[in-house]
Symmetry: C2
Subunit: 270 residues, 2 copies
């Protein structure tokens, strides 16, 4: 499930430099869907901020830890704490998860909001939810079985993904649940460093032949996921970003090397 382009519905920085458009259409600009981006962000963390409703119906933001059960956040909170009392009285809840920072400008970093309602899992789901929380939050072993702690599964009704400035999209709970977190991007840091250190010529060739920027002078890789590479491109018209999709979707980081070799061959017409 991919979406090739996204509406920039707001948030472009004001007097930031103008970005030169591609001179021809990129060959394959496949990207993760909003649901996939959201699942990847959720899988990258084990703490988040929960929004609940107080007895007066006021919003209440609080720090929580979570695990994931098929993408559904599993919370373990004390009934004595304000958020625990809130959930017991009104199951409506929202969770904001912020991906680890990669940019110094906070709003350039990726984050999601999940909204829905919590339920206490029962039967087999209770055991699975307990395992999911403990897998993500090791220290929970000290309190998860306390009588004043409750496991809650957040049933996801809708999701808002913000990838940074101008990259944002809403998705349904159903699409979020059906999507899979990225198998490549969490392990891609080493590959990105290697591409930039040792294969800058190949990246520039990709940008010229496949990325729509034939006037590329230099290119560097800023991200990798199952669908392809994000490139930052320098041209005499200014700096731009483009996307180089893989010939087929990767299912594991082990496939990254052969996929980038194939892209290099295509870019060089071999």
């Amino acid at each position: 499930m991919t979406s090739g382009s996204r509406a920039r519905d707001h948030g472009d920085p004001g007097d930031a430099p103008t970005i030169p458009p591609p001179l021809r259409e990129p060959v394959n600009s496949a990207r993760p869907s909003a649901a996939e981006e959201a699942r990847t962000i959720a899988a990258s963390m084990n703490s988040a901020t929960l929004a609940t409703l107080t007895a007066e119906g006021d919003p209440w933001a609080s720090f929580v830890t979570y695990g994931l059960l098929d993408g559904a956040p599993v919370l373990c909170v004390s009934n004595l704490a304000e958020h625990g009392r809130n959930l017991a009285a009104d199951p409506r809840a929202s969770l904001a998860i912020v991906a680890p920072a990669t940019e110094s400008d906070p709003l350039a970093n990726a984050r999601i909001t999940i909204a829905g309602h919590v339920e206490r899992p029962t039967g087999a789901e209770q055991a699975a939810a307990r395992d999911a929380h403990l897998t993500a939050v090791e220290a929970a072993k000290y309190y998860i079985d306390y009588s004043d702690f409750t496991l809650w599964v957040l049933r996801v009704a809708r999701v808002r993904w913000v990838g940074g400035y101008g990259r944002m999209e809403s998705t349904s709970g159903a699409d979020y649940s059906a999507a899979q977190p990225d198998p490549v991007s969490p392990q891609a840091a080493g590959a990105i460093a290697h591409l930039n250190a040792d294969h800058a010529d190949a990246l520039a060739a990709m940008a010229r032949e496949l990325g729509g920027y034939p006037d590329t002078t230099t290119a560097s890789c800023t991200g990798v996921d199952r669908y392809g590479l994000d490139l930052r491109v320098m041209t005499e018209r200014g700096m731009a970003y483009t996307r180089i999709g893989f010939p087929s979707v990767l299912t594991s980081a082990d496939e990254l090397r052969s996929a980038t070799v194939e892209l290099t061959c295509r870019a060089r017409g071999k």
Copy 2:
């Protein structure tokens, strides 16, 4: 404003090791108040999670940046974004701020929840709020004057501070507003490293003579603020934590060296 001890109202880890009590009362266990702890955490960050109410009255958690105007968070959000629409329709809001992580267990780290309602600042406060936001969030210069962005000042009605396991306290908006962020702790990392590397004997003497643990074998410093030192103490009865208050409250990190020298002299009976 200090509180010497705090109720452990919940959250002690279950089968964690028992902590040996002091053998005599610490001489001076002065600590920051909950309001001061909260102000210090708020001053340490420029991003947080906002909880607002949707048109249906559901909670909505979202990532935001903020500056501080006399401790009141100043937000700058787009009216096109969901949280911006929510605030315009219902001013009730809550903000969760998580201090930079110092422990691998997420729940051991400090955080606060602020609750109240937002207002659009006017007149002189508008200019001050704009400056406060720009000082904290440099990139806001690109969008703060866009017509679809609104500055909101969060009027603080109440605050919940959680310092980690078993350290938590609520405080009023008035006490929060009157308190000052710590002038020492944000610059104390170097001093802590120096104390632990070069003055372990002095720390152990403080723990024995001033900290209530005459059976201390070794001690290390885990934190410093305007009121004193946090020490981790090893005894043959196990590991404990104690507090060594300064003879007078520091107003600047520049006073840290002379204050710790004085504590060392007192501990050694000089």
